[in-house]
Amino acid sequence: MSSGVPAPVTVPIGTAEDKLLSRRRRLPVRAPIVVGAVLVTFVVIVALAAPLIAPYAPNQQDLLHTLEPPLSPSHLLGTDQLGRDELSRVVWAARVDLLIAFGVTIVTFSFGTLVGVVAGTFGGIVDAILMRIVDVFFAFPLVVLVLAIVAILGNGLIYLLIAMWAVTWVSYARIVRAEVMIVKHQDYVPAARALGYSRWRIMSRHIIPNAIAPAIVYGTIDAVNNVSIGASLGFLGLGVQDPTAEWGKMISDSQAFIRTAWWLPVMPGIAIVIFGLGLSIIGDGLADRLRDKSDA
């Protein structure tokens, strides 16, 4: 005390200030992702709560009130040529379109990733065979190939799903394979081997988590694509069949009435835009964040 030597300053870790700092240090969730998530969540809730939201059954006809414009007394978004409530149809169609978007994307993401990991990890002849198969799929225009398969299998939602499963996994396989090829030469892979980890553990804990990010970003964009492919096929009269409501098919069915009933194509169109925009924004935000992380 008297010697004049100042007491050592100790900085405790775990103070309130420190907690604040460590919270700050986490990457902030960027606004775009929140906006996208809100849009997508909105569509998902609408789809799940369809029976509660829709004022009418989606296929209930009312031939005395056909082609009523939006904001008419009992039909908020108007009615179509058969007097079916447009709001109810758009809401119920969300279920079908979400099924197409997520049902296709989840399956193709998983299968494509598996193929990509196997090809990238084993290399050599396995890689060559798998990637040539992928090349064959890439050689055809995607939508034409889906069309051809649906044409062979027949119309119906399940055939549409099968056709899209069969065709769109190839992109994931290519993306993941390329990424695995890079990651498996990172230094932490031999380090994991030096610690006595098994091949399977290295693959599942060290390679896949580091290789999967681009595929996730692609997945969000692919889900949008899948909706538009589903809608396009619906528009062409393939896939979903009458009287089931599906956004693309609703637009297609309204063609004859566009001049007199603009709301028929516009309402499902808006639904597609909301959902697609939401997913795109999420994908974009994720891509940004992943880029930031790799820069750090």
Binding site: I13, Q186, Y188, A191, A194, Y197, N210
Partner: protein, 331 residues
Amino acid sequence: MSDSAPPETLLEVRDLRVAFTGRARTVYAVNGVDFTLAAGETLGIVGESGCGKSTMLRTLVGLYEPKTTVCTGSIRYSGTELLGVNESSMRRVRGAEISMIFQDPMSYLNPVLKISEQIGETLQRHTSLNRRERRGRTIELLRLVGISAPEHRLKQYPHELSGGMRQRVIIAIALACEPRILLADEPTTALDVSIQDQILRLLADLRRRLGMSMVIVSHDLGVIAQTCDRVMVMYGGELVELAPVRQLVRTPHHPYTAGLLRSLPGSVPSRYLHAISGMPPRLHSRPRVCSFRARCELATEACESWETSLLEVEPGHAVRCLNHDRVRIDD
């Protein structure tokens, strides 16, 4: 450490040869290296880039590509042969009996796993501790390697730590299962000098406290002199000199070792840094005669035909040179 019987031999390497077969030609990376490692001993391996140091170290734990690498000789770890055993029994040795730490702490940690997960994974692999015990052990390990506020660090990712801190985490991972041998492949090359010193002190301290043996590879003689009991000098994939560290530094008997010592800044009074002229040999054929003779100031006619072998100049001091008695550091 002990004053009675010589300590037990942990690792015995005999006539180790490693060659990489390429499409065009074969590279002979390690050419007949012999050495032993006693329990508790620290062995240093020095040599310039491409002399086979790291290759040899990796071969000790079987980290090579079996399709393109040919390894012959013998690596015995406390009596059992390691070379050529199957992958699954090798995996039981790696990490648990013989651990390894690497050069660049920036890239040897998996960026997507938290510190707790990276250390816990090794414990999960090699021990039967449950989750809670693993957490306790992880904190203990972080404290052991001198990381402050370990509970706080557990939740962090590698990118949140500094280079020295990451190297400490890597050391903690390597020590998780109390290995008997720690292989360190240039553990301080990527760190700045003050951190380098801290890490070397830490390694020396840990070795003493845990009674491990260590093999440290470096191209920095200062690092070796600070930490090792014995030193092995490699050149062109061959062991050219092996001696206790003091003996090697004071009285080297291989002209290459002398050249390395002379090229340390301040070792000889001169305005310029000493350099060994010439280039290291290309390893496209197995050396029969001395591979250093082209760069050697002492080379004689006899060197051209001498089929090299290790000569014991003093007990425990072996050298691969005909003219070993003419070698001086200062001339």
